[in-house]
C-alpha cells in the first residue's frame, strides 16, 4: 500500500483544523507501509533510523535495498542476515524507501 500525498490548500487546512478542534478528533494520517515496517527496525537502529548499530536515516534507498537483499541471500553470518530473511523483497524495498526519507542526527519527525 502506497502513501498518498495530497497537499490541501492552506485555507482548507485552517478549516479542517478548526473543525477538528471543535470535535476533538484525531489528526492521524494513515502511515505508509514503509513507516509501519520501519518502526520495527528502531529497536536496533534508533527512532526513525537515527542511531543504534548503523544510522540508516537518510541513506540512499537503492543502496539500503541492495544491502538488505545481499544479507538475505548470502550464508548467515551476522544477526542482520537473519533479520533480512524475515521480510519479503517488497517489504525490504518499502523499508529502504522509508528510511531514505528520514533525517539523520537530531532530525526526528516529531
Amino acid at each position: 500500500m502506497q502513501y498518498k500525498k495530497v497537499i490541501p490548500s492552506i485555507s482548507a487546512l485552517l478549516t479542517l483544523a478548526a473543525g477538528m478542534t471543535a470535535m476533538g478528533g484525531v489528526a492521524y494520517a494513515e502511515p505508509s507501509a514503509g513507516q509501519r515496517l520501519g518502526a520495527q527496525c528502531a529497536q536496533c537502529h534508533g527512532t526513525n533510523g537515527d542511531g543504534g548499530f548503523e544510522n540508516i536515516a537518510g541513506r540512499n534507498a537503492a543502496s539500503l535495498y541492495n544491502g538488505l537483499l545481499e544479507m538475505k541471500a548470502r550464508p548467515v553470518e551476522g544477526i542482520m542476515d537473519r533479520q533480512a530473511r524475515g521480510y519479503t523483497d517488497e517489504q525490504l524495498w518499502l523499508i529502504s524507501e522509508y528510511f531514505a526519507t528520514q533525517q539523520s542526527s537530531g532530525g526526528s519527525d516529531d
Binding site: 502513501y3 485552517l14 479542517l16 477538528m20 492521524y28 494520517a29 509501519r36 534508533g46 548499530f53 544477526i79
Partner: protein, 419 residues
Amino acid sequence: MSSMNRRQFIKFLGAASAASALPASMGIGAATTAPRVVVIGGGFAGATLAKYLRLWGGNIDVTLVDPAAAHIACILSNLVVTNALSMSRITLSYDSLRNKHGVRVLQDRATAIDPVGRQVRLAGGSSLPYDRLVLAPGIDFMPIPGWDPKKIPHAWQAGTQTTLLKNQLANMPSRGTFVMTIPKAPYRCPPGPYERACVVADYLKRRKPGSRVIVLDANPQIIVEPHTFGVAFNEIHKGVIEYYPNAAVTQVDSNTRTVSTTLGSFSASVLNVLPNMQAGKIVRDAGLAVDASNRWAPVDVLSYASTIHNDIHVIGDSQASGQPKSGHMANAQAKICADAILRSFAGLPLNAAPTTNSACYSPITATTASYLTAAFQYDPSTRSMKSVADAFGEADKISGDHYEAMFTWANSLFGDSFG
C-alpha cells in the same frame, strides 16, 4: 454531530493525509477534547506505547502510571548481579516521556479497573477516566509453598531484587553452591536463566574458587539457544555448571535455602528461585487472563485489544500471543498497538499486515556473548504472529564482538523506548 458522522469525517481527513501536514499548534488544541489513553506499567511496553502515541498521534492525552520513579531494566541486569555494571546503567528515567513527548507520568499504582465506567482506580485515591486503556504490567509470579522472595531472591524484576541477589553472591563463601531454578515456559526472557547461570559461573570462578552452579530446569531441555548454552555449560563452564532438566519446584525452605523438586532436594549457599510466571495482577483481576493456562491475556494481534474488552489493550509480557516475552518484543508490540489505537480514534482500518521482531544478546562470560533473533509476520489464516523460519536463529559462535554489540543493542533499545 453524531459519532458516526464524526468518524466518517475524520476518516475523510485521514484519507486525504491532510492531518499530517498540520502544525502542532493548529491541531487539537483543547486537552479536554483530546482522546484519553491511560497506560498501566512503565516498562519497555508501556514506555514505547506512550512515546509513539505522542510521536505519531500528536494531541492524544496520554497518562502513564507506574509505582516506580524510574524503570530499572531487566536487560543487562545479570551484569549488575555480578557487579560488572552499576544499577544506574540500567535505570531508565521517564524525563524524556514527560518533557520531550508530553506524556503525563504518574507515580502511583493502579488497583482496579471499571471497564463499564471506563476508569482506573489508583492507590493514591484518584480515578483516571479513559477512552482506551493499555495494560503493560509485565509478569507476576505463581506462588510456591514456603518461598519468601525477601530471603530467596528471584531477581527477575530488576531493582531491589537484583541488589539482594548481588549481595548474597558477594557474601557467598568459596567452594559454595549456587542453586537456581528455571520455570516452565512461557516465562519472561527465554534465554535469561541460562545466561544467568553462565555469568554467575564466570563470576564464581574468579571470585569464589571451587564453587558450583546447579541449574534445575522445569523444562525437558534448554529451551533456547541449545548450541550456545550447550557449549557454555559443557565446555566453557565445564566443572562449574551442573544442568538438570525436568526438575520442577514443589517447595522452598526459605530459612535453610533448600529447594524441593521432582528430582529431589537441593541445599544452597545462595538459592535463586525463578517461579512459574503469569500476567500482572491488574490483568488477572480484570478477568483478561483467560488463555488455556488461565495465566495470560489473549489479544487480537492486529491491535493487542483484549478478547474480553476491546477498549482494553494488553502488550508485553502479560499477553498470550505466543511471541517471546522480552523488552525488545514489548517495544515491537507497543508500536503495533499505538498505531491501532490511533487508527481507531481516526476511524481508519487496522494495519492488516503487522510485523514484529526480536533480538537479544546474552553474556556468557565477562567478555563474551551470544545472540538470538527472530522475525514475525501476521498470518491471516490463524490470526496470529508467525515466526519466519529462516529469520530465527542463534549466534554461530560466542564472541567478544557480540559482547560489544550487546551494549549497542541495549542502548538503542533503551533510547527507542524511553528516549
